[in-house]
Amino acid sequence: MCFLPLAEVFLPEETRAAAPVDFLQELPSYRSALRRRAAAGGGQERRTAPRGSAGLRGAEAWGPEPEPEGGGPAGRPAREYPLSIAEKRRLRDCQQADIKRSSGWKQWKRSSSKSLKKVLNEVKELLSYLELWRHDIHSIEGKFGTGIQSYFSFLRFLVLLNFIIFILMFSFVTLPSIISTYGIFNSSFAKTPPENIEPYCTVYKPSGNKGLVYFYTYLKDLLSGTGFLEGTSLFYGYYTIDAAWLSVLRYNLPLAYLLATFAYLALSLLWIIKRSVEGFKQNLVHHEDQFQSYCNKVFAGWDFCITDPNAARLKHRSLQYELQTDLEEERLKQKIADRTMKEKLRIYSLRMFINVIVIAVLSGCFYSIYRATVFSQENSNDVSNTNFQANLLVQYLPSMVITLANFIAPQIFSFLIRFEDYSPAFEIRLTLMRCVFVRLANIGVLLFSLWSQISYCATDKCKACGYNYELYPCWESEVGKEMYKLMIFDFIIILAVTLFVDFPRKLLVTHCSCKPVQWCGLQEFGISDNVLEIVYGQTICWIGTFFSPLLPAIATVKYFIIFYIKKISLIHTRKTAARPIRASSSNFFFLVVLLIGLVLAFIPLGISIAHIPSSKACGPFRSFNTSWAVVPATVLGFPTGLQQVLHGITSEAFAVPFFMVICLIMFYFIALAGAHKRVVEQLREQLVMVRFDPLVCTPKVFFVVSVIRHAEEQQCS
């Protein structure tokens, strides 16, 4: 949206020379607009103000008639003007007459820019056909609204993200390993035994299945990552290569493994931030809740793409509910402002008590996950092949407990929040935050309990290795297996809930007309629950990819299938929500939750890479103390000058001033944003004071409006 057209549209010729309000000249935005106008103008005094089209007689407010002048190339295409087709034709003829009068160079420039624009438009249209699931998401948007459509777009984003991460890990880690292991293209690999390590630390024999085994062993192995699956490239233990040689080139696999990990984390972070920047701008500058919410609902509330009568009826109802909720919130705010001291005291003590209960519930969840993990680890190492079902149950115990906790805790939270007497919007947000915390912290607790098992050292021999070498000769593979099990179980649960809860419920509601069943009715599509589910799955994928490089491929396939499952479930078994969330706020919310998941994934990964000693029996980091140690070792191999530079960058002498400079820059931008906001407020007040007087003040009013808008855009960018 650019400043120029509006000023051109509404300013008559005469007042262009001087700024109507003095202090506006001080605005940097006004100055840059002047500069831009001077650059673009030159001989071009063309003002193609839109004339009021038919249906609006005597529209003086619209400004003077269009008079395209010769000389410069006409700016905007005729179709962007609010004129009738006959007038657009006239405008086009005038523009074409202009072109004929202008020089050959200008003609060529104009025609080439036009054809370039056409080509770009067509390319954009073609590319949009390549978009995955374009048609499906369009039809979901039409039938169910934009809130649910943003959930499916989010799912598509995750499929693409996981696919890219898989490509990254596969090409830099798995492919070189496979090539060098099988000696393709004259390659070989080197396996240097680690020095200064006790020999018993380096013993690792992944128990593949030898001889005749029952069929169900394969199934058990597939589901829990043991047996034949353990030695494959799915898990960390396969990559026991210290260097790969492709003819004469040396490929440093340990370094590549670590850098690929950092790369996929950085890629995810940058991509999510890029996507959420739009929503963040909107939320920061225009807190939608307090600002203009009624106007948005009245003027931008109706979805013009609705063609289905059912969807239309529901949209009417949802708009009605939204407006009623807003009015209700106003009344509640008034009520809160009118509270007495005694009531406030009572409310605050009640809230504190309920928070204590919440913390108790959380601790209960965490403790049960810890005990389940410890139990599962102890017993799965003892039992071997005796009872297939019991073994599988023990293996999957942590996943089951986590899923149960993820199901029960949100119900408790939404029950408790009713007593805390918050406003409806804040209630929703607080419950959501608590649920996010529960789901993500559960993974953290699982990993913590795993590590406590792995690094539990009773004997001195064990302390020499740094981890429990007897039970976990290759502990990274164990962690990888747990993440793999979590992911598989999550997928099974989603499938099972859809098949065994949603469809039977739909059948029951359709065919049984007894009161309780009809009162229960169909379930709404809970966007926040579903989003938390997939963010939970994605966090597992991020943590697990370091320990199991092929996990992103499984995640891609899993989300691909989940898209279709959710779509079918939505279309056939769900009733449309009475209060749909709007797309603009939901997009930002999804990405914020995903970002929280990513940041929380950094913690366990950071600890594993930098703190816990890597296993000496398997993996690319055998010769190093920790996984991170490969980086300093590589840096030592650089030329001295480069080493010194790198040491300088990572030393405190550089880091502290750098951090301070970053803080200063941040404060500068915050101050700038604050200053723009104040200018916007001042201009707004100015506008109210300037009365709308068509003889004198029309240009002023419109000019100031446009400057306000421009100032706000500056603030946004």
Binding site: G55, R79, P82, I85, R92, Y294, V298, H316, Q320, F692
Partner: protein, 175 residues
């Protein structure tokens, strides 16, 4: 596009437009189109694009309408036509009675009179810049530029791209 226009009244609309015939379709036919049928503002939309203000659209007006409704039209254009549509009494201002009519159309008259008054007051309070108690075009445009859902929801039809209309009417430079 011409096919759609023609099939609404095949005996009236000629196939050949080179002689520029003066054919107009009445509002009743247009508002029964599937794209507009469920829209609460369909009558206002058709009235804003018709030349005589009564709601009958010639083919030019028809193309105009879908051109503005398409995803490719710029925001300023959509804002101008949105203003016209919400201005029920065509006095160049969205006053309280216009807002009441808009609300009733949006909620199918489910809100109580008190709620409608409250919402209208809130809207005018939020958007009115010059303090005259009604929304002029400047107020409306300023407000709509801050509405994040305006381009997403409103005035968006995915059926037509402007290149279509260009081809039919012999435009090759309306880019």
């Amino acid at each position: 596009m011409h096919g759609r226009y023609h099939e609404m009244a095949p005996n009236v609309v000629p196939m050949d437009y080179t002689k520029d015939p003066d054919v107009k379709l009445p509002m009743q036919l247009i508002i029964n189109m599937p794209e507009l049928k469920e829209n609460p503002f369909k009558e206002r939309i058709v009235e804003s694009f018709s030349e005589d203000g009564e709601g009958s659209l010639s083919f030019n007006d028809f193309v105009d309408m879908f051109s503005v409704l398409s995803e490719m039209a710029p925001r300023e254009l959509k804002a101008i036509y949105a203003f016209k549509i919400y201005d029920f009494n065509t006095d160049n201002f969205i006053c309280k009675s216009d807002l009441e009519k808009t609300l009733n159309k949006l909620t199918r008259e489910e809100l109580t009179a008190e709620e409608i008054t409250l919402v209208c007051e809130k809207v005018i309070e939020e958007a009115d810049m010059d303090g005259d108690g009604k929304l002029g075009f400047a107020d409306f445009e300023n407000m709509i530029s801050k509405a994040p859902d305006f381009l997403r929801y409103c005035f968006k039809k995915k059926i037509v791209s402007c290149i279509f209309s260009g081809i039919f009417l012999g435009y090759h430079c309306v880019v």
